[in-house]
Symmetry: C2
């Protein structure tokens, strides 16, 4: 790599100090610097194709204009959509984003946080994995700006941006009940992620308020390991009970995807034999023969809010902002009592 040109090179060529060059190129003390010198400096900077070394600047200013984004998996459409929105919003303020996938694993999460801190990111946006409350508290204690996204720890006062998961699930399940479905099951993960717990709570509350007596075996919580098999098994069980469920809530797009594939394979008729409703949005839902009713998360708002709150927080603002956005119930064919076409 050819030697990069530095402030010093420009300074020497123009015959001034590096300080002056720095001032000019950063538009500081504009009023107090001779127009003529300033112009000469600018010209030779361009001529030499100067680009400031952001590493050096960071060392001095203690700011990297970088934010670290930790999600469960960047290849999950939910997170990659969020990543794109955060990228765009961050870009408006000249921030770059580095990312990492935790796979919902506390160890990986810890490593990522470490790496990002060593790299001196100015702040973090984190979808915290299970059992990472310690890591989060530690960030807080170190006064590192961060905002949690998608889930958070209710017992812990931190910035967060998430869905009102309780309400969203409630709304969805109420809709199912209103449609006349009376044995409404749920497939979720058995981890302790707050958003999932809230979804479960919402499901239960809606059942109760709809006068439906909750049956314990309507709930399937899948553990760690291959999701596909677990979902298929759950589905089998839910449908082969003496009194099978007539409607199902899927707690995430991944669960829904595997379930729908299996439903396709088994030739189950949606919504006639089984109504289905999912959290999250993905293009895939549109290709299912019975377009899916789902709970849409306002990703744009979430991503933008998270980024802005983080940047405010980086700006030495020490207030705590907690945002819970409302999910939109998008009603389509998969939960209809009288499916028209097809």
């Amino acid at each position: 790599m050819t030697k990069r040109v530095s402030l010093k090179d420009i300074a020497q060529k123009v015959g001034v100090s590096t300080a002056l060059v720095s001032y000019v190129l950063n538009n500081k003390k504009q009023d107090r610097i001779g127009k003529e010198v300033a112009q000469r400096i600018r010209n030779t900077a361009k001529e030499l194709n100067y680009r400031t070394n952001l590493i050096a600047r960071s060392l001095k200013t203690n700011k990297t204009f970088t934010i670290g984004l930790i999600v469960a998996d960047i290849s999950n459409p939910y997170f990659s959509s969020l990543a794109r929105i955060i990228e765009d919003e961050a870009d408006k303020y000249n921030y770059t984003v580095v990312f990492g996938s935790s796979d919902e694993d506390a160890l990986k999460s810890g490593k990522l946080i470490d790496v990002f801190l060593n790299r001196h990111v100015d702040g973090l946006i984190i979808a915290p994995a299970e059992d990472t409350i310690g890591q989060i508290l530690s960030l807080q204690q170190q006064d590192i700006p961060f905002v949690l996204i998608d889930r958070y720890f209710p017992e812990c006062k931190t910035n967060h941006v998430a869905l009102d998961d309780f309400k969203a699930a409630y709304k969805g399940v109420k809709h199912l009940a209103d449609q006349g479905f009376s044995r409404i099951g749920m497939i979720t993960y058995n981890n302790g992620l707050f958003n999932l717990l809230e979804r479960k709570r919402g499901w239960l509350a809606a059942l109760k308020d709809s006068g439906i007596a909750f049956k314990k075996n309507w709930l399937r919580e899948i553990g760690p390991g291959p999701v596909k098999q677990a979902v298929e098994k759950a589905l089998q069980e839910l449908l082969s009970m003496p009194q099978p469920v007539d409607a199902l809530l899927f707690a995430s797009n991944t669960i829904a995807l595997h379930a729908l594939k299996h439903i396709n394979a088994m030739g189950i008729k949606v919504p006639q034999e089984l109504a289905v409703l999912s959290f999250d949005e993905t293009e895939a839902f549109d290709l299912f023969y019975a377009p899916l009713t789902y709970i849409r998360q306002p990703l744009q708002e979430m991503g933008q809010a998270a980024t802005r709150i983080l940047l405010e927080s980086i700006g030495r603002n020490n207030k705590i902002t907690q945002v819970n956005l409302e999910g939109e119930l998008v009603i389509r064919q998969s939960t209809s009592r009288n499916p028209g076409k097809r």
Copy 2:
């Protein structure tokens, strides 16, 4: 933020020079440093919760252990899957990745490259947008390590990892012809991206080799602007011709997605009325009522190869590696002449 502890702090506490601390913590000159001092240094480092400032190290070593990834859009499943693979592979070598989306726009691409270079990334993995050959040549000239991914410029000798798009398209279209389809159209973008040109070339060659006389209006190339409308229009036209196509090749997952939605909406029977075949893989394809035949790209290999080639290239290796991987034709229902079930 509380003051972070530096090498100096450790040095003072232990009563040695920062140099010695640096050596110990980096496991250098191990044989020549007293076990006892080394241990004391290590202990106080842990005690003080020391973490090395990677920014400072980078300034000195001129290495950031960061790679810049420029894709068209991180929220596209093709690119986010690739991103995840690259992340994991890079992590093995202690690299972190910063990403940016170019939206296939040369201007944005240029800006991203600039930002990443100012941040002194050690190298770049780029899915180059149209008309960015100048940017690529400039990187080459500056001796900046990079590898192109997904597409490249055949007239330009650079590292690249991509599909053998010609062969893949050929294989797919040949399969359609072998199935007995005889009016095989294609929907693609009208930009000059090499991978798309190759796919078109493969389509044409397969038609020719199958003894099918190519009709000009079997080809629809959609321009810039909203993809959805353009795809719908193309589809309408292809199906409303006096002699409509009986099979279609979609040049990308995005085109396929919109086309399939429209096919769903219009109630067109696949494959009876229209056989369809797409490039790329996405979960969505599994939910379509007639599981899609598609050309699978070996993403794992691509992402890993790209990362490794880049890292070798960063390691002052100046050989050029060009990889074209073979796509796998995954044959399913959407191109079957005698669809069994459903």
